[in-house]
């Protein structure tokens, strides 16, 4: 695995990200824009699932309407995050906060899949103007908690390793 990371680090992209003085801050800025867009929009859906706001907007309609923009932003976060990773792959791979962040993003994906394929089966009964069942509220609460931790660990990466 380490050989692969070293190869990434010494590739043309990895070299550019590590050496060019503007590359890292510029890509990091795009990464911040992408992740705040992802979390900001997901928060609106999560609060709806928790039954705290927006009850007159059907859950299915809200997620179908807001998720495309969220996916575009998520894709941008993945691309920019990968570019940041190439600047110091070996160090990132060994960083605790970085590993936690990746694990938590996987957990957020799993939470979403469970909600989509299990909890949403009976959604016709509570899609709009109705109390959200416990499973739905757990999905919303978990998502909120996981994304807060993703942002926190992301910030901690910057404090536990030097960018250059």
């Amino acid at each position: 695995m380490n050989e692969l990371f070293e190869a990434i680090g010494s590739s043309a992209i990895g070299d550019f990200m590590a050496v060019n003085p503007y590359a890292f801050p510029a890509v990091e800025t795009l990464h911040v824009i992408a992740i705040t867009a992802v979390f900001g929009v997901i928060m609106i859906v999560d609060l709806r699932l928790l039954g705290l706001a927006g009850m007159s907007y059907a859950v299915t309609r809200m997620s179908r309407s807001l998720l495309p923009a969220t996916w575009i932003a998520f894709l941008m976060a993945v691309v920019t995050g990968s570019l940041l990773f190439t600047s110091q792959p070996v160090t990132y791979a060994g960083n605790f906060s970085f590993r936690m962040k990746l694990l938590l993003i996987a957990a957020a994906g799993l939470n979403m899949l469970i909600f989509h394929f299990v909890t949403m089966r009976g959604i016709a009964a509570w899609d709009k103007d109705a109390p959200v069942p416990t499973a739905g509220r757990i999905a919303g609460g978990l998502s909120l908690l996981i994304w807060v931790c993703v942002v926190a660990f992301g910030r901690w990466i910057g404090f536990t390793m030097s960018p250059f």
């Binding site: 824009i33 867009a37 609106i44 309407s65």
Partner: protein
Amino acid sequence: MIEWLEGLSAWIETTRLHQTVQTVEWVVPTVQTVHLLAIAAVFGSSLVLALRMLRLAGTDWSPAQWQRRLGGWIGLGLVVLLLSGSLLIVGEPGRSLLNFTFQLKMGLLIGAIIVLMPLAGGMKRLDRPDARAAMSLRLLAVLLILLWLAIIACGRWIAYS
């Protein structure tokens, strides 16, 4: 103005709070995380308002309904940004107050708040889901997003100056 900021910066450096923010290791990353979460609330909500004004998302609700749902949320986010941002300034007054990127960021922030007010007012009047927003309101919505993008970029750039 610059002299006043220099005086303020020098005074902040003599305070106990400045010492605490500087020396307690977890304070800065924690406050920055809160700052980022508040940016997410404000920027994400603005994005949804703008997408709604352009009829690209959220069309089940009227602009007025979206404004009622997210207006207060954006306001709360701005308060959290102001408080967490102030604490970050206390930690490093010289690198923020006297920094051009920071001053530009504050100017853009005032611009965003000025844009937000007529946008919210205009959305309040569009209370039918099929109501069409005037071109000027749609332009304000797009301008708001551009301002947030510039503000976020300035914020990240302060760390490198």
